[in-house]
């Protein structure tokens, strides 16, 4: 392993050890809020009888990159065992 690669490995390991949990939890919380907004704005895409508003059309360019992931999260069948705390 070269020195540069070793340094990168140590850096990433430390990130995983100390920060990844915080990073990921924050990401999930942000996604929860965004998903709720998306549901109100674009629920129609999932078959919910919500009226598409002009606001949604104006926001569409900003929402576009997220649509695929959002639809996937909303439509995926979930299991309670997925919610287990990571640490015990």
């Amino acid at each position: 392993m070269r020195w540069e690669e070793f340094k990168r490995a140590v850096k990433e390991f430390l990130f995983g050890l100390f920060y990844f949990d915080l990073y990921w939890d924050t990401k999930k919380e942000a996604a929860k809020l965004r998903d709720a907004v998306n549901l109100l704005l674009m629920g129609e895409l999932l078959g919910l009888p919500l009226m598409t508003t002009p606001i949604m059309l104006r926001l569409l360019p900003y929402l576009l990159p997220e649509i695929e992931g959002w639809k996937q999260r909303q439509l995926r069948e979930r299991d309670i065992t997925e919610e287990v705390p990571e640490t015990v």
Binding site: G16, T81, V84, T87
Partner: protein, 577 residues
């Protein structure tokens, strides 16, 4: 002072390192290449279902660090305490053998199960193998498991607050630190490295204030002190479980990881340099096959050290999170096997902390032995006698903070779990406030007996049985792939026998007191109320029977599915490489 190398824990830590190296570089590599036939080219769920939130590829080094942080909690630290009652040698042998042939097998293989099954978690994997009833029984089993684990952690934190003066004040200091960190990060968007430095400084100051004040003294609330502390803890946990995650749990977890990892590193270092610091092995290598109030070496030894050798909870973590973020299949070995074997090293170091304390502390069942042992190992290179008071508070806080953060997550999960489980006319039990209160009141009642060793054995037994189920599940899927399944089936058979025997032993122990053959297992002040002590023993007797029956059903169903797969009676699915 220098002592002979062989008289210190150092040699055993190095020996364990060599064994774990063999497991990783030889055995795990063989399984990786010949059974799972991993390939960098096969697409993982992280890429297949990329959504940037639950499914996204993460570097192997990041994931290794995260997996280690996730699995290395209180289990590997507290478990060896009970096991060392038989002497340190049996405990060491089980930690090393358990890690080499069982622990990593489960963690690595369950990650691979998820990767090869479109990112499915434990519930759907069990459903695929044995159907809806099996999945429901798994959930019921988890319900009891959560109650027992909560009882253990709530009791331990309360005990530590009672025994170590100043630890409560230090804990409050760290909780306030967590709240400040949460506000700085989420409200003021402060720089993460600045916040990290502040969190570490405030944590160390909190420990310092706790040490200096050394208040409240032991038994501050009289004979019911531990119980009063547990109610205070329950109030903190209740608030923690109902407020949004970024307000309490997320920043607390972030703050807690620094003293936790720092403490672990200090203990490992202290054990390795023990020949130079003169800290000697004091515990006898072997004490006997049977220990009063604990039980026979078989099966109790194998369930007392749970997470340090093998833990069923890891299979849930591996299938629900890690497996969904694996970049390429070849990362499963460093992440799954590597993190588990590193945890084995942590368990070995925790054992080293027990090896150097007075046998008297272990014989009396004083869990504070860990704090004393860790202080003994680390004080010589951290200021000697002058630092002992600080280190005692630090290591007690190390355990308390670990337990509180884990318990806050478990209480929250219990709430989510209850909302999922209780439907129809029982839906009120899933209400946010009622479910959280239930998840705290029931464990407090369980912990009333003060017999934490028996609670721990129930915890270890049910945790290990979960591991046995996960290993059987792995064997089932591997058999479906027409690959050699012995590497998982043999450990699964061993763990099934061990854990069901341990549960039977505890049923027998509580049965004796339930039917009046022996005095109920209880500690003062509950001993003054024999009726209440009996009722709790009878409750544990019933819980033991329920866990045993659920365990038997799950084991039967999974083994049956495995043998069908071996005979080729189950159609091959997409899991084949």
């Amino acid at each position: 002072m220098q002592v002979a190398f062989l008289e210190t824990p150092s040699l055993w830590i190095i020996g364990a390192l060599v064994a774990y190296g063999f497991a990783y570089y030889v055995y795990a590599k063989w399984v990786d290449e010949h059974i799972w036939e991993v390939s960098e080219k096969r697409v993982t769920p992280a890429h297949m279902y990329l959504d940037g939130v639950e499914y996204f590829p993460v570097s192997r080094y990041v994931l290794y660090g995260f997996q280690f942080k996730s699995i290395a909690a209180l289990g590997p630290i507290l478990g060896p305490f009970i096991a060392v009652a038989y002497g340190w040698l049996p405990a060491l042998i089980w930690i090393v053998i358990g890690n080499m042939f069982i622990g990593w097998v489960q963690d690595y293989s369950t990650i691979m199960l998820t990767v090869r099954n479109e990112g499915r978690s434990m519930g759907p994997l069990v459903y695929n193998a044995i159907g809806e009833r099996g999945r429901k029984i798994l959930l019921a089993y988890l319900l009891f498991y959560l109650l027992i684990i909560s009882a253990v952690f709530i009791y331990l934190v309360s005990l530590f607050w009672n025994v170590f003066p100043g630890s409560f004040i230090a804990t409050i200091g760290i909780i306030i630190t967590g709240l400040i960190v949460g506000e700085l990060l989420y409200k003021y968007k402060a720089n993460i490295f600045g916040v990290t430095a502040l969190a570490i400084i405030l944590t160390l100051i909190s420990v310092g204030i706790g040490t200096a004040v050394a208040w409240p003294p032991k038994n501050f609330f009289g004979p019911w002190s531990v119980q009063v502390w547990s109610i205070i803890l329950a109030i903190i946990l209740f608030v923690g479980a109902i407020v949004p995650l970024p307000k309490f749990i997320t920043p607390m977890n972030f703050v807690a990881v620094f003293p936790a990892i720092g403490g672990v590193l200090l203990i490992i270092f202290g054990a390795l340099i023990s020949p130079a610091t003169g800290i000697k092995l004091i515990q006898p290598a072997f004490k006997g096959w049977y220990v009063e109030n604990v039980g026979p070496i078989f099966p109790i030894l194998f369930v007392s050290i749970a997470c340090g050798a093998i833990s069923g909870w890891h299979s849930l973590v591996s299938t629900s999170t890690t497996g969904k973020q694996l970049d390429v299949e070849t990362d499963a070995r460093p992440v799954g096997a590597g993190a588990m074997l590193t945890e084995g090293l942590l368990a070995t170091s925790a054992l080293a902390a027990y090896m150097v304390v007075s046998p008297d502390l272990i014989a009396k069942g004083k869990i504070s032995a860990f704090v004393n042992g860790a202080t003994l190992l680390t004080a010589p290179f951290l200021g000697g006698d002058a630092s002992k008071a600080y280190l005692l508070t630090f290591f007690s806080i190390f355990l308390v903070i670990y337990a509180i953060t884990v318990q806050a997550l478990v209480t929250r999960y219990w709430r989510v779990f209850s909302a999922e489980l209780f439907r129809g006319s029982w839906a009120w039990l899933g209400n946010k406030y009622i479910a959280t209160a239930t998840g705290l009141i029931l464990p407090i009642i369980f912990a009333l007996t003060g017999s934490w060793i028996n609670l721990w054995i129930y915890f270890g037994g049910s945790n290990q049985l979960l591991a046995a189920m996960a290993l059987t599940l792995v064997a089932f899927y591997v058999a479906k792939m027409n690959k050699p399944s012995w590497y998982s089936a043999v450990p699964a058979a061993f763990m099934t026998v061990v854990t069901l025997s341990a549960l039977l032993w505890e049923i027998y122990t509580f049965g004796l007191s339930t039917f009046g053959i022996k005095k109920p297992l209880a500690k003062p002040p509950l001993t003054q109320y024999p009726g209440a002590a009996w009722a709790l023993n009878a409750l544990f007797f019933v819980i033991g029977i329920i866990l045993f029956v659920l365990g038997i059903y799950m084991s039967y169903a999974l083994w049956n599915a495995y043998f069908k797969a071996k005979r080729g009676e189950v159609e091959a699915k997409a899991v084949s490489p």
